[in-house]
């Protein structure tokens, strides 16, 4: 576990030194929100329509912005043969995967935290701190599922020439079990339902996260083998 944290710390240090991935994702997610808020300008006064549209818009922004970052996850490792250097270290190969999941989760979740205030303003929401915390929990569980699968597929597509195209094609179908309960739970939170109102969606997200983390952990070694 400690070696995974070293890998995550190294990735975060490199990322926040240049902020290339973070800035790209943030700008993309903000652009999506702005474009949708302009497109839905006529409906923004009608709270019932906003409640139906806004959760989907939020997840579209986060999913596609996250994919920008995920496609770059192993690029840093493939430059200068660093992935080979990691494979030479006396650690289980799955430690590399866990480290990447940690660092991706921090970067994507941070991007989401920065985006949320813009979402609240653009879609005319007024949320109390309890609702914000619950929204944070939904986003965390959903993002974790997205990162768990996305990191594995990013490793799988690393050696392909069309990885930026291939990743969304492979990832989106596998993400449906995250996106559907994620959008529903977000809609529930924004409608003012408490924890009890979204407990079934949260359970689904947690089970998805656990199952796919266990499977990805087991198969990662084969994903990066020559």
């Amino acid at each position: 576990m400690i070696r995974s944290l070293y890998i995550a710390a190294k990735d975060l240090k490199a990322e926040f030194r240049t902020k290339q991935m973070f800035n790209s994702m943030l700008i993309f997610s903000l652009l999506v929100l702005v474009v949708f808020s302009i497109s839905f300008g006529d409906f923004l006064g009608d709270s019932s329509k906003v409640e139906k549209l806004a959760p989907g818009v939020l997840w579209v922004a986060f999913t596609f912005a996250g994919m920008l970052g995920l496609s770059r996850t192993f690029v840093m490792e493939s430059e200068n043969g660093c992935l080979e250097a990691l494979k030479l270290c006396p650690v289980d190969r799955s430690a590399i995967y866990t480290g990447k999941v940690f660092s991706n989760l921090v970067i994507v979740f941070l991007m989401e935290i920065v985006t949320i205030p813009f979402f609240i303003v653009l879609f005319n929401y007024s949320l109390d701190s309890g609702t914000l915390l619950l929204l944070g929990l939904v986003l965390l569980l959903g993002t974790l599922g997205f990162i768990i699968v996305g990191t594995l597929l990013s490793a799988l597509t690393l050696s392909t020439r069309t990885r930026e195209l291939l990743l969304p094609v492979l990832l989106l179908p596998v993400l449906l079990p995250v996106l559907i309960p994620g959008v529903e739970a977000t809609a529930g939170v924004l409608a003012g339902n408490g924890l009890s109102g979204i407990s079934s969606e949260l359970r689904l997200l947690a089970v998805y996260d656990l199952i796919f983390f266990a499977v990805s952990h087991l198969v990662f070694e084969y994903a990066i083998s020559d």
């Binding site: 240090k13 200068n80 043969g81 494979k87 650690v91 289980d92």
Partner: protein, 237 residues
């Protein structure tokens, strides 16, 4: 005396293409072995098998008595690898790179800091320790790569065409570092296309052709090598 690397009946194929065929080899501790051979002969595959980067198809590779397929993590602690690729993160500084890889090899904080400082001095980069690797020249990166490969004091150093992309000055600096007392203790196995430099450094020469060892000579008696010189001559071009 226990061998640094002991290879028994080793075969490896990629798909249906055999790359190494029934190799048997013992490499002594402290020995500098240079492997020559034409492109596609299996030299780099052999190095990757010793490094535990790929698994043998048949046979075994023992690293200081440890079976690389059964105990790869223990075996990796004994190995340092230097390639034509730097294995360095451009967005991290020279020191950060060494500290990261040292942590991955399980070195303690105090020991790691001492070792990193010592190695940076040995490779002449102590004044550039806080600069990002992406700003370094190819020669500086290769010197830092040596320090990275040796951060955990490996007993076996694998060198995969380390002269690629180095100018003559950087190559001679690199050679001086390899010959210095700090790096003398480790066994070295180098794959190279550079016959002249290979002969100057080695204690032992191997020639691999089509997955088999066709020549094995020790320093002081390379007489049989002339038979393979024509084989290796195109490499000089």
């Amino acid at each position: 005396m226990e061998s640094a690397v002991s290879i028994r009946n080793l075969s490896k194929a990629f798909g249906k293409t055999p790359v190494l065929k029934n190799l048997d080899l013992d490499l002594k501790k402290g020995e500098f072995t240079v492997i020559f051979g034409p492109n596609g002969a299996g030299k780099t595959t052999l190095l990757k098998l010793i490094a535990t980067l790929i698994e043998p198809g048949e046979g075994s590779v023992l690293i200081k008595g440890l079976d690389s397929a059964e105990e790869p993590e223990k075996a990796r602690k004994e190995i340092g690898m230097l390639s034509h690729e730097s294995y360095l993160y451009g967005d991290l500084t020279a020191e950060e790179n060494l500290l990261f890889f040292g942590q991955m090899y399980g070195l303690g904080k105090q020991e790691l800091e001492t070792r990193a400082t010592y190695l940076l001095k040995e490779v002449g980069l102590e004044t550039r320790a806080d600069e990002r690797v992406s700003t370094f020249s190819r020669g500086m990166k290769q010197r830092l790569s040596i320090a990275r490969a040796l951060i955990h004091e490996p007993s076996i150093l694998l060198l995969d065409e380390p002269y690629t992309g180095l100018d003559p000055k950087a190559s001679s600096v690199f050679e001086q570092i390899l010959k210095s007392p700090a790096f003398e203790a480790s066994s070295k196995i180098m794959v190279s296309h550079d016959l002249e430099r290979g002969f100057a450094l080695c204690d032992r020469i191997l020639v691999i052709k089509a997955g088999r060892i066709v020549y094995d000579g020790l320093k002081g008696d390379f007489s049989g090598f002339s038979e393979f010189k024509e084989e290796c001559a195109p490499l000089l071009a």
